[in-house]
């Protein structure tokens, strides 16, 4: 398969990753959020495999498989179990309304495009233009963490940020060394477990997982 077609597939998948980030931003239901996160992981793993083929770096196949197993299968399963066990209400509220969040998201994409312009000029890789998309995904993940009231969405925001960072690594330098990627994947898995344990504790102690409720824990002086 020629380089041109692969570059187009790469851009296409990058577009789909950003689209899933925006869709997560505007999602109301928790189950939908988890599904979208799984889709984002899927697009990311296919993209990693494609970049691995183009750059002939075979360790990227391994990280693609890793992403597939952890982010598409394992983590969504864990999160789904969490949602069921904690009996979380299906709909979540946001602090700002959804059209405003989409506008902020678009502004973040433009900002990251401006920011990565010097890299684009210097880089010789075929994935240079997807760096802006990756940075935007990180920032949209952070936006999601900021503007939601529910604790589970904050994990998913954190995981989306990690997706974006992983994507940035593939676009900027054709992937990190395998050791680093294995370490990051392990960290993410442990973080998900720890979050799950914490949420059980919080839920049993305070009967609620709403971040707004947790504000009332502060001392009044």
């Amino acid at each position: 398969m020629n380089l041109q077609l692969l570059a187009q597939i790469n851009s296409f998948l990058a577009a789909l990753v950003l689209l899933s980030a925006f869709a997560m931003l505007s999602q109301r239901k928790i189950n939908g959020l988890v599904t979208l996160f799984a889709w984002q992981g899927l697009f990311l793993s296919i993209n990693t495999a494609v970049v691995g083929y183009v750059a002939a770096k075979h360790h990227l196949y391994i990280s693609s498989l890793l992403t597939l197993s952890i982010k598409v299968i394992l983590l969504p399963y864990i999160l789904h179990v969490l949602v069921v066990r904690l009996k979380i209400k299906k709909e979540m509220e946001t602090i700002v309304n959804i059209p405003t969040m989409m506008m902020i998201g678009i502004a973040l994409v433009l900002f990251s495009y401006k920011l990565t312009a010097p890299v684009r000029e210097m880089s010789t890789l075929i994935t240079r233009s997807t760096l802006a998309v990756a940075l935007a995904t990180v920032m949209i993940g952070l936006l999601m963490m900021i503007t939601r009231k529910h604790a589970v969405t904050q994990i998913i925001g954190f995981l989306a940020m990690e997706n974006g960072l992983f994507f940035a690594a593939t676009s900027a330098t054709y992937g990190m060394p395998l050791v680093v990627e294995l370490g990051v994947a392990l960290d993410v898995l442990i973080a998900a477990f720890i979050f799950g344990i914490f949420f059980f504790q919080i839920s049993t102690t305070f009967d609620s997982l709403s971040v707004k409720q947790m504000e009332s824990l502060r001392e009044d002086n």
């Binding site: 433009l110 495009y113 401006k114 312009a117």
Partner: protein, 676 residues
């Protein structure tokens, strides 16, 4: 062959004649109105001719008047840009003067007509002088005369306190603008050499360093924006335009705001010829904000003239968008695109003068006939005022930018200018400018929604009000004035190629590119700016096509016509259909208030007045809606408070004790002696 500039100066002098008439035949009201406005109309027509001649010939002419300060004479200049604005001012003033004959005659009560006629003529003469001015002195003199004359016109009905307050606010804003313009001229004159530094020619020769050029530009931009009604300096517009008589509102909204646009174009393109791209980006940003906020403000209004005033804010924003784009393209040395954007902005200037003048004239006819200013009290006027309603409909279609009328042509040209933005070298601008195009599309759609509301609530349906005045059609001269303006709107929409060919001399002079070499390739019927491969529009064909298919369908269906039965309105069997059940302006705008309401300070209350105190049997439902401008609270109220505080502190110097005043004089004398 008389030269155009002599024609214009003659017409300025001709405006004095009606003032003489006021003195001579002041007592015979009808005769005075007829003759003085007819003379004004003739003087305006002379200006139209001279404007066309100046643009068509493409030459520049200078005249130095012998009046003025000693050894600082007034310079006048007529070049294609001034000629274009003279054409716009003259044409609309001509139509409004014809309209005024009927309108002023129909004004009820003992209003001060003589004052109206005097200041009306001074106002138009001052606007013409602003366009002809070639040095800072006469520019500012004419600018101030224009502001003062319009102040007296706004204060026409000075018996009511809100009118006085509106006129006062207008005066304050006009003076803030004038001070900024004066400072800008001062900066530019300071860098020009020689004693003649105050002439525009000397300012053109001067080489301003970039920092000072930026200062001059910012001062003049904000000074002219205060007059043009760009957000955030728009607060005087919705106060002053409604209280003035409608012919004056038509002129103020139609042409006075355009003199500010003329000032911006003159200073930026003609005097400071070289500038960085961010000036244009700033103008574009202000234009976009004014356009969107202006139309949203207009959607919230139910007072007819206030709504039209807010639409002027919106359209000035659209003109600034065109000019801002042109400035950006010029700074990147893309002359043909700059010419397209500039022509789009100037064409919209002309269009807005025509359709806004038409709308204000129609509003004046309606308000005169019904004695109501609130749209929610009107309705069903299409049956009682058929001519006015048809002309007002033309104005509504034009301002909503719908083909085949003129508003669409300038919006289409602006969109084409936006579409050319990918040729710019800066990547961030390439992404941001199409978002501006989306905002312009939003503005156009919101304007159409607003004018469906206006036309539907005033002219269609049944009469909604409590009073039932006897409504008659407008006077003949009012109808003729409106008809001519409506026909101009149609012609500007159908024949844009011819007019753009004529406007070439303007763009050639300012941005050094001609548009007509490509715009008329297919002939006079197709408008193809830049390239026929890129885009083409044929106004006549669309218009003829729609009319032809309508006619064909009509005739095919009426070969064997079915019956048309007229019945009372179907009331779903309810039998208690009242006019109060119709949609009013406030209810029509409810979805927009819900969606865009976060931009305003809205307070909405509903409460029931129960019968005999029992809440299960309401007698009346009361509804209260207040929509306030956030800019007033954020920007103006703090400034007003600070100024009042400072003046109160300074006022402590005036305490009436004589020996304190003597001490002041003593201290001043000692201080000056020490200094010198």
């Amino acid at each position: 062959m008389i030269s155009p500039i002599e024609l214009s100066t003659f017409s300025v002098v001709a405006f004095i004649i009606p003032i003489l008439f006021v003195i001579l035949i002041g007592n015979n009201r009808r005769l005075l109105i007829c003759i003085s406005f007819s003379v004004s109309a003739l003087a305006c027509l002379i200006n139209v001719v001279s404007g066309i001649m100046a643009v068509a010939f493409g030459k520049t002419e200078h005249v130095i008047l012998p009046i003025g300060l000693p050894s600082l004479p007034f310079h006048l200049r007529l070049d294609p840009l001034s000629g274009f604005f003279l054409f716009v001012i003259g044409l609309l003033s001509f139509f409004v003067s014809i309209y005024s004959i009927g309108y002023v005659s129909g004004l009820a009560g003992d209003k001060p007509i003589k004052r109206l006629i005097v200041f009306y003529n001074i106002f138009i003469a001052a606007m013409i002088m602003v366009c002809l001015a070639d040095d800072a002195l006469i520019f500012l003199v004419a600018w101030e005369v224009m502001a003062a004359a319009s102040y007296f016109l706004v204060m026409f009905e000075d018996g009511r306190s809100e009118n006085r307050r509106a006129a006062y606010l207008y005066m304050v804003m006009a003076h803030i603008g004038a001070v900024l313009i004066l400072l800008s001229f001062g900066v530019m004159a300071g860098f020009s050499t020689g004693f003649e530094g105050y002439t525009f020619d000397a300012m053109r020769e001067a080489n301003l360093p970039l920092k000072w050029a930026t200062v001059a530009f910012l001062l003049s931009f904000f000074g002219f924006s205060a007059k043009a009604g760009v957000i955030p300096m728009h607060v005087w517009l919705p106060e002053a335009h409604p209280v003035a008589p409608s012919n004056v509102s038509a002129l103020m909204s139609g042409v006075m705001l355009k003199t500010a646009i003329y000032g911006i174009i003159r200073i930026t393109f003609d005097i400071i010829k070289v500038f960085p791209w961010w000036w244009g980006a700033m103008a574009l940003a202000f234009g976009l904000v004014s356009a969107v906020m202006g139309v949203l403000f207009a959607l919230m209004q139910h007072d007819l003239k206030k709504l039209l005033a807010y639409h002027s804010v919106e359209n000035i924003g659209i003109i600034l968008i065109g000019i801002g784009l042109s400035m950006i393209f010029t700074s990147f040395h893309l002359p043909i695109m700059a010419a397209l954007a500039l022509i789009a902005g100037l064409y919209h200037t002309m269009n807005h003068a025509m359709f806004k003048g038409l709308l204000f004239m129609g509003a004046g006819a309606v308000i005169n006939a019904t004695h109501e200013r609130n749209m929610d009290e009107m309705g069903g006027l299409i049956h009682l005022m058929p001519w006015t309603s048809s002309f007002f409909l033309v104005g509504c279609i034009s301002i909503s930018a719908l083909p085949p009328f003129n508003g669409f042509v300038s919006e289409w040209l602006t969109f084409q200018a936006f579409l050319l933005s990918p040729s710019m070298p800066i990547p961030l601008m390439k992404l941001l400018i199409p978002l501006g195009a989306a905002l312009l599309a939003l503005t156009g759609a919101l304007a159409a929604a607003c004018f469906v509301k206006v036309y539907g609530v005033i002219f269609l349906g049944n009469w909604r009000g409590h009073n039932h005045p006897v409504v008659t059609e407008a006077a003949w001269s009012m109808r003729i004035g409106m008809m001519l303006t409506a026909l101009t709107c149609l012609c500007l929409g159908i024949l844009p190629t011819i007019i753009i060919d004529l406007m070439d001399s303007i763009s050639e002079r300012l941005v050094h590119a001609k548009l007509s070499s490509s715009s008329g390739i297919y002939g006079w019927m197709w408008l193809t700016p830049i390239d026929p491969e890129r885009a083409s529009y044929s106004g006549p064909l669309v218009f003829i096509g729609i009319i032809a298919v309508c006619a064909i369908t009509y005739f095919m269906l009426h070969v064997k016509p079915g019956k048309v039965t007229r019945v009372p309105v179907w009331d779903c069997g309810f039998q208690k259909l009242t006019p109060k059940m119709q949609y009013t302006a406030v209810s029509f705008a409810m979805p927009f208030r819900r969606i865009f309401g976060f931009l305003f300070d809205i307070k909405e209350q509903v409460w029931m007045s129960p019968q005999q105190g029992h809440c299960a049997f309401p007698v009346k439902t009361n509804y209260y809606l207040r929509v306030r401008d956030r800019f007033w609270g954020w920007i103006y109220r703090p400034i007003i408070d600070i100024v009042v505080l400072m003046s109160r502190k300074a006022g402590m110097l005036q305490h009436g004790r004589i020996h304190m005043y003597l001490i002041y004089s003593f201290v001043t004398i000692i201080f000056l002696l020490a200094l010198l």
